[in-house]
Amino acid sequence: MKLKSVLFAAAAGATLLATLAAPPAAAQAKEQFFPVLPYRTGAYAPNGVPWANGYVDYLKLINARDGGINGVKITFEECDTGYATDRGVECYERLKGKASGEIFQPLSTGITFALTSKAPSDKNVLITSGYGLSESSDGLVFKWNFPMLGTYWSGADIIMQHITKKEGGSLKGKKIALVYHDSPYGKEPIPLLQQRAKLQGYDLTLLPVAAPGVEQKATWLQIRQLRPDYVLLWGWGVMNSAAIKEAVATGYPRERMYGVWWSAGEPDVKDVGDAAKGYNGLVAFGNQGRVIDDIKKYVHGKGQGTGPIEEVGQTLYMRGMTSAVLAVESVRRAQERYGKGKVMDGEQIRWGAENLALDDKKLAALGLTGIMKPLSTSCTDHEGSRSARIHTWDGKAWQVTSDWYAADEAIIKPMVKTAAAKYASEKNVTPRTPADCQS
């Protein structure tokens, strides 16, 4: 009897193994596969979910509205990373076999680090819009990384520009405090802020908050004692709302707080409500445009919406949607060179991503006017566009309260060069020369 069950178990196990060993189904003709690495679970789910919904909705839109990219249908599959590096790697390994060359957007600096060393050999493109390694904007070293629409260094730089402007041009002797998520993500902006501190003569205080960032009382007591002129917030998930609440509790003026784009979304303020009024954050795109209506019409209208419809147009949703735009457009661009209506492979997509030229005309055609700034990548610059605005929470919604800023190349470029060089030597990567860019 027991033997039977054991044998049965063995058999079951064998079949399972068989299913695993079976090579993942290769993409059919005329289908471009897009892997999706969201996190709808874990401590960061509240922020991960809207991003993922925006990403997926746009892919759905392209199929529903345009019937794919020049007729090439889009297929996609999700694999939940839970914001954990190793699960991210596992998901990457699982999905990468599905097509010859894909675009991965892990939405996690940690996972990005891990994939950066794998993507090149697998010929997979890594688009990290608004996160990832700041130095990876140097396309000569990071052939397969595309930190489009601004890295953390660009973000930090823009915030500092804005603050400088508010202070009438000089930050000499001012006190700036950075409250950051104690992880590679949170640490990314530090070098730039230090660099600018040297140039502008403000003094910078670093206040790390242990992940996930629920306990910040001590941090904010220090801030209360220090009385900095501005507090920069580099948090993610619960850490953001916790920080704002502590700020309320210690009576630090929200008007003097500036969050990176990951710290200035709806989930961060929605359950703080009025108390968060005056809190500022970066935003890299607008939320009014034809594409929004299209998504409501073609996707949610047909009951295909991934999340609740109210979410469409929210900050993190838009970040996800624009990330999808970048992915789709990279493929479209590649098709322009390698044949419209064909399925693109890794090398081709990479070329597309490296030669993006989204001018106002193209953006208008895509219904992205007022949402995205024009963006054009090259093999020396994988970032494309490094501009953003400040928006402010009025207790109900985010209101844009500044014009567009562009990050200061003069400061960032050299930092990128040195950092990229260090990376190249560590991983013994031989940088491309501008000459062999056209390969």
Binding site: K2, T19, L20, T85, V89, E93, G97, S183, K187, N428
Partner: protein, 358 residues
């Protein structure tokens, strides 16, 4: 009929003391070795290697180390992730700071550093028992995680605290294909499993188990608790450290302290519970189980969902996963405290009698 040991008489104690006293087992294990080391590399797909086989091999190694401490010596540790992290970052430092440091040497040195830390955090076990110790080991977990985030020197001044390693090679053979990496991990796994097996069936192993089962009696017959416990901590964290280094170098290639968080510690603990405490075999089974189940769920659940017209999204899958694990842990603790390993041996018992029960 096939699986009979009668007729196989042991003529020497030595013969009786070998790892697999039964002929069929020896043959089976040889066959298995042949398959894993020769067959698999020939036929497995890249995906199979990188998503399943390599993680399995490395985690099995870590579980093996943890099992020595928890399963054999009875000293529960919730800080395994920390020791893996030490192994990984130590190995990394040796590689970047010592020019021309060979990979294997770096791995082993990483292991040695883990040993040092392990022993340091093992010292409380001489005063603290059971649950108190379990909680105390969390100190290691959190402290080490913090240290690698904060102390720049340990991460070679990388601004972000996360580090990467370049191309790997062993004895001049580049590890560029998944197969080669898999072989490296497997080779190490087999090697350490063999050494560990020898230890646990040698007298140090008996001393560990004596401490685990009845420490006072053990002391009375002349076993030094200090020595037994600290050796257990040392050897355990050495193996765990090497596993950590492998995880970082071979599997991730680029990592941050979060890769060795408390979740990892729990995961390994689950592996040895499900696999079987105090069993080398168990470490393997447990690791296999915990690496494979989530993937199976991810692949099958949505299909089931569609079959019944329910949309199963990724969130539901991973929630279900943690539910399942939770339930399984409890199930095993209640029904089969010795885990899969025991099920395995009962299966063999049955097989001996088959096809004539009793």
């Amino acid at each position: 009929m096939l699986y009979r040991e009668n007729g196989q008489f042991k003529t020497s104690y030595r013969a009786d003391q070998q790892i697999f006293p039964i002929l069929q087992d020896r043959l089976a294990i040889l066959a298995l070795a042949a398959i894993t080391l020769v067959g698999v590399p020939l036929f497995a797909s890249d995906y199979l290697f990188r998503a399943i086989l390599i993680p399995f091999a490395i985690l099995a190694l870590a579980a093996l180390g943890l099992n020595i401490l928890v399963g054999y010596c009875g000293q529960i540790s919730l800080g395994t992730g920390a020791f893996m992290a030490v192994g990984a970052y130590a190995a990394y430092n040796f590689v970047v700071r010592v020019p021309g440091m060979p990979l294997l040497a770096a791995l082993l040195l990483g292991g040695l550093c883990a040993t040092a830390i392990g022993v340091a955090f093992g010292i409380p076990s001489l005063r603290i028992r059971g649950l108190y110790l379990a909680v105390a080991t969390l100190a290691a977990q959190f402290f080490v995680e913090w240290a690698f985030l904060r102390i720049k020197w340990l991460t070679n001044d990388s601004t972000s605290g996360s580090v990467t390693v370049g191309a790997l090679s062993v004895f001049g053979i580049p590890l560029d294909t998944p197969a080669s990496r898999y072989l490296l991990c497997m080779a190490l796994l087999v090697l350490f499993a063999l050494l560990a097996k020898n230890l646990v069936r040698g007298h140090i192993g008996r001393e560990w188990m004596a401490i685990r089962d009845m420490d006072v009696a053990a002391a009375v017959i002349g076993i030094r608790p200090v020595y037994a416990k600290l050796t257990a901590f040392a050897i355990s964290s050495f193996i765990v450290g090497v596993a950590g280094a492998l995880w970082a170098f071979v599997h991730l290639g680029s990592w941050e302290p979060a890769a060795f968080g408390i979740e990892r510690s729990f995961q390994l603990l689950f592996m040895i519970i499900i696999g079987g405490l105090g069993s080398i075999m168990g470490s393997f089974l447990g690791a296999a189980f915990i690496t494979i189940v989530p993937i199976v769920l991810n692949r099958t659940l949505p299909l089931f969902g569609n079959a019944f017209g329910v949309h199963v999204d990724t969130a539901l899958v991973s929630h279900f996963e943690s539910m399942l694990f939770g339930a399984l842990i409890v199930f095993f603790l209640i029904v089969e405290p010795h885990g899969l390993a025991r099920l395995w041996s009962t299966a063999k018992e049955k097989l001996r009698l088959w096809p004539f029960p009793h």
